[in-house]
Amino acid sequence: MAAKVLIVAEHDGTKLNPSTAKSVTCARGIQGAEIIVAVFAAKPDAVAAQAAQLAGVTRVLTIENAANEHALAAVLAPQVVAVAKDCTHVLAASTTFGKDLMPRVAALLGTAQISDIMAVESANRFRRPIYAGNAIVTVETDPAATIVGTVRSASFEAAASGGSAPIEKASVNVELPTHTRFVSVSAAKNDRPDLQTASRVVSGGRALGSADGFKILYSLADKLGAAVGASRAAVDAGYAPNELQVGQTGKIIAPELYMAVGISGAIQHLTGIKDARTIVAINKDGEAPIFEVADIGLVGDLFQIVPELERLIG
């Protein structure tokens, strides 16, 4: 049976999330796969147009419904199941969106889910990290079952643009629950690059000492055009907001350059940065575990080094 992969697009109503382009690359690893991107939205046209440009996408389906204005798993799941009827695979990014939605889809389909796919070995064989990335397991599913999976964005490059897939409207006739209602979302105002997809990230740990201490990082990040991240310890201490957390239970990222400033390097943090191209560590403790994974290490006082770096980069 030819593979037919449905990818559930992630978006904010106007912009397609870059993680969707990475899921497309993952799907392209499944030989001969037809790749369909489904856009569930109140007004899907703008997002669908962006999805149609991703190289490798065969078709874009729009499922327009006022109930789809906010991504509510309980509302989306039955629609995804209906659209995925004759698909072999259903994928979404392993972001908070995909982690919320896909297990609900898998349960409705009565199928197991493969979380955090990091490599495609065949249409029904995948590799994924477990134990905070301390082990990699190869899993195989029954090829006859619908395969539901979430895609680890850090493991795949974004699909190039330049495609022009046809966009079709799909109608879904399922009853949608009203027991779950969106109230609000408070996103930190941020003109910096998005942490999840930035090519450069400057991250701070508890050694920054305070929310005020983080200011030197923001300043350096702005010089570098970098996003700002934080360790769990720094977030727990209230020095940085939770959406900046990098690690096993925060964001898993793969920038070209990752600068860990005053971060000791707990296992759960290292899990989040394993795929960074170059890791720079700045820490006053030369024995800190972060130096075991750093490509370039500098032992010293971050409060002197960071402003100096900013000056030298100019």
Partner: protein
């Protein structure tokens, strides 16, 4: 009775550095410290706080796994849960099987709220909560950092990639916990003694009418790829030079 059901999982303690067995059949768990999954501990803490505020009358704790899981159930009882249900199952319990078993317990116990951790730190699947909510056909709020209950409804703030999102759901509902929801209490010695007298019921998985079907074949386990050893620089100037050499700035 106003009841909260909390699901917990026995996992390798978060402080243990997990190693893959040389033959690639799994990870080393012999003689390794086991604990309640930290996110499930947060789930239990939240349930206890709701009960202590008068928002619930009973907190029931449940787990699925081998006989050894009773250690973690006893710990949960010592933390303050009222009684424990042990669904006995040996071997791999996939999230969908766990969700099906928990659904049977929901049907029996009729909780108005079910709380579980957002993920278990062993298989990092992050599936059981939403799967259970789907089978139950009830609302889910994942990655909760704040839970407020009022008259048949819950207002829950969740940690999402964009920031903080607040949802309102009708009860009964399922919540999965994120790190910053609360800080679990420490267990005191007298409570450990008291916990020994609290009810703990064992239910073999097959008596619930749930099949322990394994859908995913675990082909092999490997350690992650190691990074190349890096270099050390002396000062900010050398660091900038090194970054320039790599074409990074």
């Amino acid at each position: 009775m106003k009841r909260i059901l909390v699901g917990i999982k026995r996992v390798v303690d978060y402080n243990v550095r997990v190693r893959v067995k040389p033959d690639g059949t799994g990870v080393v768990t012999d003689g390794v410290k086991m604990s309640i999954n930290p996110f499930d501990e947060i789930a239990l803490e939240e349930a206890l706080r709701i009960k202590e505020r008068g928002g619930a009358e009973e907190v029931v704790i449940a787990t699925i796994g081998p006989a050894e899981c009773q250690q973690q159930l006893r710990t949960a009882l010592a933390m303050g849960a009222d009684r424990a249900l042990h669904v006995q199952a040996d071997g791999v319990v996939e999230p969908l099987v766990a969700a099906r078993a928990l659904l049977k317990l929901i049907e029996r116990e009729q909780p108005f709220l079910v709380i579980v951790g957002k993920q278990a730190i062993d298989d990092d699947n992050s599936q059981t909560g939403p799967m259970l909510a789907a089978l139950w056909n009830r609302p889910q709020v994942t990655f909760a950092s704040k839970v407020e209950l009022s008259d048949g409804k819950a207002r829950v703030t969740r940690e999402v990639d964009a920031g903080l999102e607040t949802l309102e759901v009708d009860l009964p509902a399922l919540v999965t916990t994120d790190l910053r929801l609360n800080e679990p209490r420490y267990v005191k010695l007298p409570d450990i003694m008291k916990a020994k007298k609290k009810p703990l019921e064992t239910l073999p998985l097959n008596t619930l009418g749930v099949e322990a079907k394994q859908q995913l074949k675990l082909v092999k386990f490997e350690p992650p790829a190691q990074r190349q050893k890096g270099i050390r620089v002396k000062d900010a100037g050398e660091l900038v030079e090194a970054l320039k050499k790599k074409g990074l700035i």
